[in-house]
Amino acid sequence: MLYDIFIDPFVQMYDMPDFFLQVLWEGFVAGILYALIALGFVLIFKASGVFNFAQGIMVVFAGLTLVGLHENGVPAYLALILTIGVMGVLAYGVERVVMRPLVNQPEIILLMATIGLTYFLVGFGEFVFGGEPKQMITQELGLPTGSTAFEIGDRGLIILQHIDIAAAVIAVIMVTALGLFFNKTRIGRALRAVADDHQAALSVGISLNQIWAIVWFAAGLVALATGIMWGARSDVSFALEIVAFKALPVLILGGFTSIPGAIVGGLIIGFGEKIGELYWGGLVGGGVESWLAYIIALVFLLFRPQGLFGERIIERI
């Protein structure tokens, strides 16, 4: 038993280095995708203090809209642009109908409102596009398919999916773009001001409503990117919403307001759960992935309640 826990997994890693590398790669890709979902949460939380549970359904909704439009004869790129438009309308609508009337409510009320939004979007999405799972239009969007295999040694083999590589590249581009946007533009600076202090931001003439609409739109774009990537891995269906829960332990690790935290947290969870499942999961019959990430986050939080990048909390009275 002790051998199985403490030695055997490492022996396996050493014996099959190609497989270990493949596991790391899969962990990396999964981590990137978790990080993308988490990024959506972070954007909104940072600017408005709303823990947006609807991020998961926004991923599905964005993917469905894209595929649904294409199925109705809209060319792929036009569908992409239209979907971006739809996410913009959604962001504006959420800001007008949900955020603005609920300003200054306790966080749990805002959380509930986003779950209400989830219900609404589930009903609306199924009403418009039907409940059938849809194929992501990967090729039509010009995203790569297929895979490249690297042979290592006699029987070593690492298979890299092109779409996964694309996912990683797109994630990097998105994070960089968002970083530039926040640091170099006027709206970005305003957004950081809002994140620091709503009242102070208001007093220097920043429009909170505008900022909120913008972050919801940005979160919508992130959701669309996630929807495309995850849709390409399986398909676009409402079951995908559950996958979005995986972003929550990522958030715990990285902190609710830190963009680098979301990325690093995502990677930790991605690596952690793949390695845990493949090398230790078998000991308890496998399938531990559904909760392993939470336990990792929980244990981590017990030792470092402020998260990865948070500053030490000094309680004041």
Partner: protein, 443 residues
């Protein structure tokens, strides 16, 4: 904001009034046979559920349109949306049972299990076609439950038999590795005891890869494990979004698709199509007809689909799961017809329906009469055997559509039947006092 509050209060009052209206029991006029259809076109399993719902609804609707119902009596169809959710399943059952429901098709293991004990109390049979509780095949213990044409244990034994055929005999399975990828729920776990028994008997190694329900669309770990273990064959018990994801992952790790075999619930057109070109060769069990080329399906097209009475996309008519729904309705319809013959009544009750289903004899001639020759293996229900353990065939995906890829294969009845009976006995013991069968045998 104050007006809002008044409005909210008003809503509450209105709700209260509505509630009192519901208190009165509903009475139902009886000039038709009422068939409630518990379906799910929403929720995480809608991808599979929609096609089945369409198939079930359209065939019965076609009988109404073409023949004016069964035995001259129209069928009153009512869909109740369960969302594959046990809470709503019970609600649907309670909402419809009072209207003279003849039979229930829950299409969810959870809901089936809830209804099984109620069936004998409310005198309404449960038809769980190829799902639910395998043990319910024992008609002596479960007179009110029908789960033909096959149970999961039948299916599992056919898969192993088929793999044996591929390897040139069951004895050649010795030393082989067979991977079993399953939805980590009662549904996926049920075949395991039989598979383990077979593994011991034929000397192959059974590798288990559970997929948690929440991780249906995130299977890369399972398939990494598959890659490491290099099984010779993969068997899949999946449902809903789990299937297309698994097929994509299999393509990704370059698993030979013709050695990847799914149960009949992992046999949807969408499931296989998700894998694209790479999914070519994927196999699945099936017991209902492949493709739209049957006269009865043509009738559905002309009388229902083209008349705008169906919610099915015309392209999906004749798909595997659509046809599964059709077969389900064929069994319902034939059950009603048999019951009418047995009782001489045209408007029947749940009790009559039970007799009709128990006396069901869907032979080749009758299938032909129905315009469904070759659509299903002839099946005959007996009082002892409510499943029939009928032969099953393997179908294969050719990149665009399913093709039958084997003859009908008999399950290993000698192995399965004792298991079924033991399981039925165990169920009755665990749920003691389980009522002993008092219903007369119509055969």
């Amino acid at each position: 904001m104050k007006d809002f509050k008044q409005f909210a209060l008003g809503t509450a009052v209105a709700l209260g009034v509505g509630l009192t209206g519901l208190m009165a029991p509903t009475a139902q006029a009886q000039d038709s046979n009422y068939v409630p259809l518990l379906t799910y076109r929403t929720g995480p399993y809608a991808g599979s559920g929609i096609h089945i719902a369409n198939g079930m609804h359209d065939y019965l609707q076609m009988l109404n349109e073409r023949d004016g119902g069964i035995g001259g009596v129209k069928l009153e169809l009512e869909e109740c949306e369960t969302g594959y959710n046990a809470q709503k399943g019970v609600e649907c059952y309670e909402a419809t049972k009072g209207k003279g429901a003849l039979v229930y098709n829950p299409y969810s293991t959870g809901i089936t299990l809830q209804l099984i004990p109620k069936a004998s109390v409310d005198k309404i049979p449960v038809l769980s076609m190829g799902y639910g509780l395998s043990a319910a095949a024992d008609g002596n213990v479960f007179p009110w439950v029908f789960n033909g044409p096959d149970t999961y244990w039948d299916g599992a034994s056919v898969v192993i038999k088929y793999i044996g055929q591929q390897e040139g005999g069951l004895e050649n399975l010795k030393g082989k590795k067979i991977g079993y990828l399953f939805l980590d729920a009662g549904y996926g776990r049920e075949p395991i005891p039989l598979l383990e028994q077979l593994a011991e008997k034929y000397g192959f190694e059974l590798l288990k890869y559970p997929v948690p329900g929440a991780e249906m669309q995130n299977q890369s770990s399972q398939w990494l494990n598959v890659r490491r273990d290099r099984p010779d064959y993969m068997v899949m018990w999946g449902w809903g979004a789990m299937n297309p994801t698994a097929i994509k992952e299999a393509v990704k790790i370059r698993f030979p698709m013709d050695k990847f075999i799914g149960v009949w619930w992992a046999a949807g057109d969408d499931d296989a199509a998700a894998g694209g070109e790479g999914a070519k060769g994927y196999k699945a069990l099936n017991f209902s007809g492949v493709g739209p080329d049957f006269p009865a399906i043509d009738d559905i097209k002309t009388h229902v689909v083209e008349a705008g009475l169906s919610s099915a996309d015309p392209e999906t008519v004749g798909g595997t799961l659509y046809n599964r729904g059709v077969l389900n309705s064929v069994i319902i319809a034939e059950g009603i017809r048999t019951a009418q013959e047995l009782t001489g009544k045209t408007v029947i009750t749940g009790e009559d329906m039970r007799m009709g289903l128990e006396a069901l004899n869907l032979d080749e001639a009758r299938l032909k009469e129905l315009g469904l020759a070759g659509f299903a293996h002839p099946m005959k229900v007996t009082c002892e055997d409510h499943s029939g353990s009928n032969p099953v065939f393997i179908q294969q995906w050719n990149g665009t559509e399913w093709r039958q890829a084997s003859d009908w294969i008999e399950p290993m009845n000698d192995l399965v039947r004792p298991l079924l009976e033991a399981a039925a006995k165990e169920y009755a013991e665990k749920n003691a006092p389980w009522p002993a069968r008092t219903e007369a045998c119509p055969n």
